[in-house]
């Protein structure tokens, strides 16, 4: 039996087990039969094991260079390094869907195992809901995109193996898609628990704990995936930026917005019993948007450097699935409308719940704005026969102020108390952050003045010139000011918290009190650490406004100015290895007459895909800025090199902020205390 046959057989078994598990879970829920539910749960575990088997088969096929399988032939070649052969598993459309099934079935098994005793009534519903989602993807694998499909005719007729797209042969690209998949797929778990809570009528609190933790897990991986995608674009595409509102990156960002909104609004439900309908709707929307993202990436309805290509059949199937999820889920919510009513009302706009609510509205508006703008070119093509292009500036025009509004709310929310905040406590809480925010704004305005004076060669800028500079950088200046304000809020929260901890236990050292705070109030202070990461990211993003870009054509020996730096062309180097040909440019980075570094940007031509040369950038990194160089074209006879040179101020703070955010998420997720300990 060939691997292709065994693989296809395993997919058929997977489909059969999926059907049986769904039927057993539905029957078990209907008859309240422990035997049937137990069998359905075993079906979930079996699904995970069989999908792991199918995945191990495809990995074996890649490692053994089994080019009789079409998918292996299209995405691998025998010269590829072992590491990339394994990651080619999810490098193409068919394999990525099998990877999706693997992750979903593993998550389903984990979620069911962790919660089956805690939420016994909900479990059968969780099983059939997750089973249906999994069955949809397994069905796609069998009927539309079988990764084990062999060549019908002789494999040689298809030519030599094509290999993984060179753009994807990058360490970030190895981690980026799995991170996004982990985020996307794990959103199915909160959805299943949320819907099971709605179906069983246990909408009060039973589902919150499990759902919150899973959503945080999804959110963490979406964050990691999005940032790694940005880092990949920054290092691999050579255009000097990391985010250009690419439709496929947007597809990951949209559910990130709704998941972020949910992680805030669920706290209102926990504390006040409010917003049940809203929270269930956010869980549904987050999952639905994760499927929308999958649809956008795989159907080819959007044009992107990351998309898998056009597939109208897949577009229709996903379209129908999306409608079914939306209609079915909201029909269940309407059915339980009365049960989902709030137990309390908003008492004051000067309350933390109102700040969270505002944050939710902004996040939801951002999600639908990005979704609408991303899909608009496709809709315009469908309805008006003309594909309208939406530029980066359109997104930035609306998203920058919305992002700054979020940054402001991040500095306001923690200072407010639940229910209502008294006037004197408002003064006491807001004084330091406001002063700090104002001082930061004045400071950056002075720095802007100094920058302008330097640009004018030491002459004092006129009021008009200064006004124009402030207008040009209004969002960056506001961003820096808000970063100062929000940073002060976070620091104040920590300082006051430590002070309270020390008052309660004077023997504690400052460090011990800080650690105790993080351990005892994990969610609150873990959340503040995430906020700190976001502030650092905004700081890095605001720096972009002061970036410098130059496109130059220079010959070896020539020097060009780039801001405060001099870039000298030190020559070209043509090399070759077993996989590709490379032309590397050596550039000296000089400042104040001193050579700081040698940059080596390059162009690579893979033998398998010579028509798709890759751009390998090189950068001189400091905490203040990056000096970034990429090669566009090289004339090997004259040595004339076309370069794109950038100075990207503060860019590395975006990556530092991400690390801080991930650290905060790890604190928030933490470990679950044992049931006994809680009681």
């Amino acid at each position: 039996m060939t691997v292709a046959t065994l693989g296809t057989l395993s997919l058929l078994v997977l489909f059969a087990i999926g059907l049986v598990s769904i039927a057993l879970a539905m029957l078990g829920a209907h008859r309240k039969s422990a035997r049937l539910v137990e069998a359905a749960v075993q079906g979930v575990y079996a699904t995970a094991a069989v999908s792991a088997f199918a995945s191990s088969l495809i990995i074996y096929a890649f490692l053994a260079d089994d080019f009789s399988i079409q998918y292996v032939h299209h995405t691998s070649d025998s010269a590829m390094p072992l590491f990339y052969k394994i990651t080619a598993f999810w490098g193409g459309l068919d394999g990525s869907m099998l990877f999706w099934v693997l992750l979903l079935s593993l998550f389903s098994a984990l979620a069911v195992r962790a919660n089956r005793r805690r939420h016994e009534e909900m479990i059968p519903h969780v099983v059939w809901l997750l089973g249906i989602i999994n069955l949809f993807f397994v069905g796609l694998l069998i009927f539309v995109k079988n990764p084990f499909e062999p060549f019908i005719l002789e494999q040689q007729l298809a030519g030599s193996a094509k290999g993984l797209n060179p753009l994807l042969q990058n360490a970030y690209m190895v981690i980026h898609p799995p991170s996004l998949y982990l985020g996307y797929v794990s959103l199915a778990v909160p959805y299943a628990f949320g819907m099971a809570a709605v179906i069983t009528g246990q909408v009060d609190s039973a589902w919150q704990q499990s759902v919150r933790r899973w959503t945080l897990f999804s959110w963490t991986f979406l964050t990691l995936g999005l940032i790694l995608g940005g880092l990949w674009a920054y290092e691999e595409l050579g255009w000097g930026g990391y985010w250009a509102w690419d439709p496929v990156e947007n597809a990951g960002l949209i559910p990130w917005f709704t998941a972020t909104a949910f992680l805030h609004s669920i706290q209102i439900q926990e504390r006040r019993g409010m917003l049940k309908r809203w929270n269930v709707s956010l869980v549904i929307l987050s999952f639905w948007l994760s499927i929308v993202g999958t649809f956008m990436t795989r159907s080819g309805v959007v044009r992107s450097v990351h998309a898998f290509g056009k597939d109208p059949q897949l577009a229709w199937i996903f379209g129908v699935f999306l409608i079914v999820i939306l209609v079915g889920s909201f029909a269940a919510v309407i059915w339980r409308w009365a049960l989902l009513r709030s137990r309390a009302e908003l008492e004051s706009p000067l309350s933390r719940e109102f700040a969270f609510l505002l944050n939710n509205w902004v996040l939801l508006a951002m999600a639908f704005f990005v979704l609408g703008s991303t899909m608009w070119p496709t809709f315009s093509e469908w309805f008006f026969d003309e594909r309208i292009t939406i530029r980066e500036s359109h997104f930035n025009h609306y998203m920058v102020p919305a992002g700054l509004a979020l940054l402001l709310l991040m500095g306001v929310g923690p200072l407010l108390a639940w229910r209502r905040t008294s006037t004197e406590s408002l003064q006491q809480q807001f004084l330091i952050p406001l002063v700090f925010g104002a001082v930061t704004t004045v400071l950056v305005m002075v720095l802007e003045w100094l920058r302008l004076r330097e640009l004018l060669g030491g002459a004092t800028p006129t009021g008009e010139q200064l006004g124009a500079a402030y207008r040009d950088h209004v969002w960056a200046l506001t961003g820096f000011g808000l970063c100062g304000y929000t940073l002060a809020t976070i620091v104040q929260e920590f300082v006051r918290g430590i002070r309270v901890a020390k008052r309660n236990n004077p023997k504690l050292s400052l460090l011990d009190a800080g650690i105790r705070l993080l351990v005892r109030a994990r969610r609150r202070y873990g959340g503040y650490v995430i906020h700190l990461g976001v502030v650092l990211m905004f700081f890095g993003i605001a720096g972009k406004a002061y970036g410098i870009e130059r496109k130059v054509v220079i010959e070896p020996g020539e020097t060009v100015a780039l801001g405060d730096y001099q870039i000298r062309h030190d020559g070209l180097l043509a090399t070759e290895d077993w996989q590709k040909q490379m032309i590397t440019v050596e550039l000296a980075v000089i400042r104040d007459g001193k050579q700081l570094d040698t940059l080596t940007p390059a162009r690579w031509w893979y033998f398998q895909l010579p028509e798709q040369p890759t751009t390998e950038i090189s950068r001189y990194m400091t905490v203040a800025e990056d000096v970034y160089a990429s090669v566009q074209t090289v004339d090997m006879t004259t040595g004339k090199t076309q370069l794109r040179l950038f100075i990207n101020p503060l860019v590395n703070w975006v990556w530092i902020g991400t690390i801080v955010m991930l650290f905060g998420s790890a604190i928030c997720i933490g470990t679950r205390r044992k049931q006994g300990a809680q009681q």
Partner: protein, 172 residues
Amino acid sequence: MTEHSEPSRVATRASTLLLIALSLVLAAAILLGLRFAIGVDIDAPTIALAVACVVMIWALRSMWAIVVALSRPQVETILVEADAVGPRSELTELREEKARVLRAIKELEFDHAMGKLSDEDFKAVGDRYRLRAIEVLRLLEPTEGDAELHPLLAEHLATVGAKLPGEKVSEA
């Protein structure tokens, strides 16, 4: 649904561990057999094949578990829904509510200590939480001494005109 007894859970865990150990031994035996008996090079595809074999055993075992679950007599309990499940769910709900209210009180005290709440607000909001906590604790741990209400709760119930336990109808 039926709760698994501790011994059966231990037995399940032991059998799982045994299966993991056996799978690893089998994979090692296959690889060593291929290496020394047939002289095959242990390269990446061979290791992948051994892993696939182990995962296949796991897949077969988990499929068998469905059949076992369907034929197992001891879990053949038909639950009489709501009545059977109701009290347990209610208890779980109450325990969760207890944890939630106690956490809310702690946070409130923390916020007050940090100066986010005025004394007046702290008292007003805190009293509501404390009353709820007392109610939940009483529902969770009813004891004989419960005939007497906590003075704070009794006072609150009196202000809202509720009938106190032990009061005769004529007195109400």
